[in-house]
């Protein structure tokens, strides 16, 4: 079943991408074209096939020591904030979050 304009509007809302009505039309057409391209995936019988989420062979258990790094990667607060669109004192600033609770945590 093709994605409707409303479906795509819902996804855009979730993905925090504002779309104009024209963009929404174009996006809906694209999404349906793109999903059609993926059809070969649905044609497989994949019973018993393990997925490969990480193309890294047997590599596992990669960890680092619990040792502080105060020098090499640490960012002084002015550098941390230098690319921010808005900041105040030592903090990043955002406008009113107005009911936006960012999910259930």
């Amino acid at each position: 079943m093709p994605l409707t304009r409303e479906d795509v509007a819902g996804i855009a809302d979730y993905a925090r991408i504002a779309l104009t009505p024209e963009e929404l039309d174009e996006m809906t057409a694209y999404m349906n074209d793109a999903v059609a391209l993926l059809d070969p995936i649905r044609q497989y019988d994949l019973e018993g096939v393990e997925p490969t989420f990480h193309p890294i062979g047997d590599l596992s258990n990669v960890m680092t020591d619990d040792v502080p790094d105060d020098e090499v990667r640490h960012l002084p607060v002015d550098v941390a904030l230098e690319n921010a669109g808005a900041s105040r004192d030592r903090s990043f600033r955002v406008p009113s979050i107005l009911g936006d609770q960012g999910g259930d945590r």
């Binding site: 990480h54 619990d66 990667r73 960012l75 941390a80 990043f92 955002v94 259930d104 945590r105």
Partner: protein, 502 residues
Amino acid sequence: MKKLAEVLKDWEAVIGLEVHTELTTLETKMFCNCRLSHDDPPNTNVCPVCLGMPGALPVPNEKAIESIVMAGLATNCQIMRHSMFYRKHYFYPDMAKNFQTTQGPVAFCMHGHLDLEVSGAGAKERPDATVEKDADGGYVAPIRILRIHMEEDAAKMVHVGGEEGRITAATESLIDYNRCGTPLIELVTEPDLRTPEEARLFMEKLRQTFLTLGISDCSLESGSMRCDGNISLRRRGATEFGTKTEMKNINSFKSLHDALEYEICRQAEVLEEGGIVYQETRHWEPSRRRTVVMRVKETADDYRLFPDPDLAPFDLTDEFIDRCRARIPELPDAKRDRYVADYGLKRADAAQLAGDPKVAAFFEEALEGVGEKVVGTLANVMVNLVPSYDALTVGQVRGIAGLLAEDALTFAQAREVLDAINGTDEDAVAYVDAHGMRQSTDEGALGAIVDEVLGRCADQVQQYRDGNKKVLGFLVGQCMKAAKGSGNPKAFNKMLAEKLEG
């Protein structure tokens, strides 16, 4: 609203907890080498990784993985050899990448349990006959743990403007990423808890366990240990679950108990009036002693979970798990049983001492070189006196216990002494002697006083012999006065009784 006891006669409360614990005793964050923050100025401990800068990549902290495996072993979980980190997406700037790195269907630790010993007044909250109660009404509640998974904490946001603390009225928010990326373990119980007291005890036991493991400072006040409660009601005898609400902002054991108590009573009232309990998140307001709606969940959140391609999977080896197991110290239950068996302590006292690793260590140090007869007194001092002081030394406590054990001091005097020497390096025995507080139990010395008092209190002696035994207290008081406080009241009591009966 009806009272809890009333409600729980008709309704069964089904409670599950989600407990987040920051691994505050580590040096560094979960996926980078920034220091963990303890009251540092905003954005002091940040790097490209925990700020979610483009191009930064995560590497897991080995000690955090060891810590969660220890937590799993200590709560009787199965340690999953194979697991992965997942990305959980939601757009909110307290998570620098707009996803949280957490675990998927398989967590490091699965399917554990903790057994709660519920006793005293708290046990009365549970009226149902499904648990076996002992003579004092106490019972054991086995609580299953669904999982413990590893994740990262979010940044702190301060909401500015509008009414104090009210998020919705704020005109702007400031973000401090110091906490972002702090190693966090989330424990999820099965919905096995049935009363607010059980929930409180579960949290307390979990806290004691994690403190003993040394993986966190477990502070509910500062938020290094946080608890959300899921709660629903069903009619006694029903098997289907009711609609649950989720409780947030629980920052003390009392809040946990009171919020659940309130919510049980609230839901019962709604249901009994024919209303509907909505699936919603509610916020506990301790000052007003009520929960209020934070957010109604119309549809399940879709977090677009998928395995994090930047993090290699885990295949924990027996060697790794054994190494974690070897690092687990004696846990509170085992310690409690040992105190009971080795020192003959009362189970409740033993549990209190064993529950806090600092207290237990202090107790065990104080025990060194102490005679068998003093052990019970020492435990008594640890349970009843020491918690009121903040800076007693092991030697001072040992000294007080010795004095009490040989009846050289009353309990009231012991408090007086501790008030004076707390925070100093003064020896308890030296202080008592210097202030002439030591009480004599020498019958020779005290005998003269007893004879003198009996001699001048003929009326009271007569009253005693006529059957008014209470008058003995007056006579002890007279002896104490005559001895100017240096005689032991127990000794006077004994000697007076002997003479009057004889």
